[in-house]
Symmetry: D2
Subunit: 364 residues, 4 copies
């Protein structure tokens, strides 16, 4: 009997369970393979006693419809930087990667499928360099990876953000308000960009295109002057003003450092009022609602393709690779390439051109 | 030709358009009636020039599916306390009710249907006492009116809050987190109570049952000790701790005064950490998402019943009354009674008993 | 240790799992009670070996969000008319009720909670008369029971039917078509009535109000003459023409006997064409889609109340009773009363009046 | 002032309104362009009086959220084969293309954007060859066009079909039934294939892979033997058995000719029973529900890109071309190429491999 260990790491993402199910269902077609789940990424391996369990077809029945991951996830440091509490209460980290590889051997694990984001795949590459038979499955709800056309979870987040815009639009119109919706996207503005187009927002602010507060002010004012006194602004959590500060205004009260969730929307609201925008402004922060719930069909299909392909890469012994989607094919790319090629919104890409074409302002 | 004026006031609420449509469709069956919409409650009447328009079947086609109100709404003071800006920049208010009644006569308005909440219906009663032919339609998303079994908009808000719990549950389980969801309910906890039961939350905090922080701490800790390290807490925006402060702990950093949207969830999170709760806690604030979007079928049916009945009360000349739902009948009650009978959650009502019965803690 | 057996019988209905979960969660608060699930109603008891299992909190975690029933259901005859295959291949039935009661005693079952419809509750009453400690929980997606304000599952079915109307409306308008939607309701037209109002249909045909084909023809034609060449007709599967046949037309091709699913919609379509209606007509049959999927919040709350109450009736020893909803209370009524009081749509009830008030034709 | 005429032809498809809105919003950014909508494809031009209207930003506000098309559509023959009724009641067709082109000139139309499927784009090509300045926008809910990665409407149909599977799954499991879901796809099985993977079906039958009834029987039986007595079968409306008839069985009662909507599902059900499959089987036909309703975010984004690009092709004078999606670019291809390259499911493509990999049977 051969064994493949599956682990999910990093932030929650709709489709994780569909990947796990596909690995298990695909492996069930081979006579001599068993799938083992490690609890909360590699923590399940490193803990004493280990927290791992066999995943058979029964244990994954129906999970592709559910958000989350049945084997848990974590944002902790991983085997190369395992956090330990010092006697004085402070925290250090130790490298437990050798120990983990030994444990995997001891447990008879022949290969590992690591489903996770940027950080997880860097760990995958390091483990691969140490000789571990590892395959990566990319997981980034922000879709910020250029080695694959799309990643699962992204369309679900876009759908949820778009439905939020749909809900806010009628309230904005009924009350003559500006409603600001803060969505995910610390470095890449894809969710904001898609939701702004799909929802028909007036303004879209993303990390890749720093905004000029005065431009936003003008745009919103012009709507009020035209007698359409309402607007939706979709802002990515990583959106930043052009000079890092409010144009022409010193903003001492609200700094950019340590902005918590919702801070970006509130800061924009505050700054707009500071420079004299008079209409009613309200903020909504989607937050964790974007990461949960039933994945849309698109993400379930993509996640299923990723999971089945990952197991096939194991069968083919193509370790050190990561599955990827190159329409209409599911392919694999070297992990080392994948983790070095982020996918940001190019300010002159077709999608931004479309957005500008239908009248969406980026505040630039 | 006789004319009935329709106005919607107060916060947005799913179903407003279905009420308006029902008034118009019902009136269209009488040969000699015309429906006029006043923009943003009575503001449309009081402005110069007036902002009113004829509402015919074409103008209301399909609107019952939409959130918001096609005739706009406002939270402003109304005719008895119309805000005016003084020369020094401060605000005062003047009574323009007589002027409004004269304007309505001048425009040939025979009756008024006022769709709105507590504040709006108090104005309706005052206008009625001044001789205006007015009918009220209750609108309170919080369902805090005892003269009617239910109000429209409430079930939509509950559905949205429940879907939010559904989304958060899988993330909470995957990450071993406590997720706090703040929902509407400043004085009445109905939305929180229904969503907690429907979503399967562990803790439900409502204004009517002040909570003891230590009780919540114990409850959540016990889950962690049982190995189920996750929980959903649904908190109404008006929930308060038992003594108005954190039990046994002085909370100077975060006061209760002027808590903005999301403050209640953040305060609970902060206070739990203060008394030593160790697990990961995150907050989500539903905010305006609860008020927007497509009404659920239940609310569309109820709103349609209210609208059709309101016009029939006009036909019958039963002014000074408000429509209400007493299953399975649509009835009317005197406005004067309706506005004085709020509907709070009784701590020993059947629904709270059910909640406790399935293991939901109210932190008391 | 005391034991209560739970069984679900009859057609699938959203909310069944929420009832089961509530029974289990409520029982978990009593120190000495265990809940046993019988597979596919009482079949699990009668089979050899028995198919029953203990239901603890872990086994019902999260099931309130799911459609269906985790303990299975069946439309078979029950213990009083257990089907057996004769040697010649035909079927007879035998009374196995005494055997079942003995088996329950042998298994140490102290009480039974039977969740089911009309047929199931008749069996409950018969078993009660034979001395079994039994409590009924009503389950009828058609809402056709007068002893309770509402039953769970109904609002979910209405919501699904309404969303179907929403989807069909835009196609009907784009293509200038008449679209007929067949929904559930063999004897009671509640689902059709609610969906027609919530969706804004032009025609609603229900079993309680036999329709005149010519009236429908006139109504639809008048829309075409007014230049609005489209309409939605919602028809309950049990709707019937006034004289049991098409007015003034002999319909030999399609008889009323043995109409299969969708037959009612197709017959209406065929008959309309027969009497000369010229526009494009298409039919859609919702069928099983109305019974499945995630229950709406309303049904989850009601089902949870029913489940918790049912167990409390067990504790109180109030056997022979059925839980019911009398807003805002959850009460109990004698089974004998409940099963004899169906709840049909009264042609002059408030809801039909509302429907007519907003221009919906019943074809009468 | 320059004028571009927009027309939508063929079956309804979610996203049509988003294309129209994008054309209008994009054109509004050019100082001298006006958009004209022709009612029901080119019928609006050919009728007397013409049925066309100016589309400005106000007339397209918010329509991207709605299904259908605000300018109507038709399945009629088009200008080259305009249907006319003969004196004897039969129908002929005439070529009115020259007349239409003259009328467009007379109306000052500088260019035409034709949004439509296979049939519409063949007409576009013919009109282009006659000298008309025409741009095509592909519309096929079946996604059966190889010149573009995806077409709008498809993901919405897949999402609706997947949600139907989700609803049926719990009923199938509760009742131990086989549920057959018939979805769109007369020649291409993409919708069935995606929905089967996303929903977790056991069997998927598509036009491109003829099925062997005995194989399906074996597969379903094996589930029953394993004690999992339920299954979902997703069947495309164009699915066919291997030899055009039931293997080894003559099916005289139900022929393949003139099968109406739902006939394919019913035939499969009938044939399975004929060869001895014993479990309970039920059919559901999605039908028009797949074409209507709110487009998913994916389709709104794609449709918006198509609309904006189509107008830009007009500006650039690239007539005789059709917009297309080549991730991540929106490009254009000659109409003549596009209409000759259908996109069928290759039996050995990656997606079919994935489906087989997770255990889905194609009955081959």
């Amino acid at each position: 009997m051969k064994r493949v260990l599956v682990a999910t790491g990093g932030g929650d993402c709709p489709g994780l369970n569909a990947v796990i199910r596909a690995v298990v269902k695909r492996a069930a077609q081979e006579p001599d393979w068993e799938v083992i789940g490690s609890y909360q990424s590699f923590d399940g391996i490193l803990r004493e006693p280990t927290e791992i369990r066999v995943l058979d077809e029964r244990s994954v029945a129906g999970i592709h419809v559910q958000g989350g991951t049945i084997i848990g996830t974590t944002n902790k440091g991983g085997p190369f930087a395992w956090p330990i509490k010092n006697n004085d209460g402070t925290w250090s980290s130790v490298d437990r990667s050798d120990e983990m590889i030994r444990k995997l051997q001891y447990l008879g694990i022949d290969a590992v499928i690591s489903i996770g984001g940027d950080g997880s795949q860097k760990i995958s590459q390091q483990l691969f360099e140490k000789g571990l038979n590892i395959i990566g499955v990319p997981k980034t709800i922000d879709n910020d990876l250029s080695s694959t056309d799309f990643t699962f979870g992204f369309q679900t987040a876009v759908q949820i953000a778009t439905e939020a815009v749909d809900k806010l639009v009628t309230t904005a119109a009924s009350h003559n308000r500006v409603l600001i919706l803060e969505v995910m996207g610390r470095y890449a503005g894809w969710i904001a960009l898609h939701a702004a187009i799909a929802g028909g927002a007036e303004v879209c602010l993303i990390p890749e295109i720093p905004y000029d507060l005065n431009k936003i002010n003008e745009r919103l004012k012009s709507r009020y002057n035209k007698g359409k006194g309402n607007a939706i602004v979709v802002i990515a959590e990583g959106a930043i003003p052009k000079d890092g500060h409010v144009s022409g205004v010193q903003s001492d009260e609200i700094g950019y450092a340590n902005l918590r969730l919702g801070g970006v929307a509130q800061k924009l609201s505050h700054d707009l009022k500071t420079i004299g925008f008079e209409a009613d402004i309200r903020e909504t922060v989607l937050g964790h609602l974007q990461r949960g719930g039933v994945p849309v069909a698109y993400d379930r299909v993509l996640a299923t393709q990723f999971g089945a392909k990952a197991f096939e890469l194991v069968l083919e012994g193509r370790f050190g690779e990561m599955v990827a989607y190159r329409h209409p094919h599911i392919v694999s790319v070297p992990l080392i390439d994948a983790i070095n090629r982020p996918n940001f919104v190019e300010p002159d890409c077709d999608l931004v051109r479309t957005a500008r074409g239908v009248g969406i302002s980026f505040g630039d």
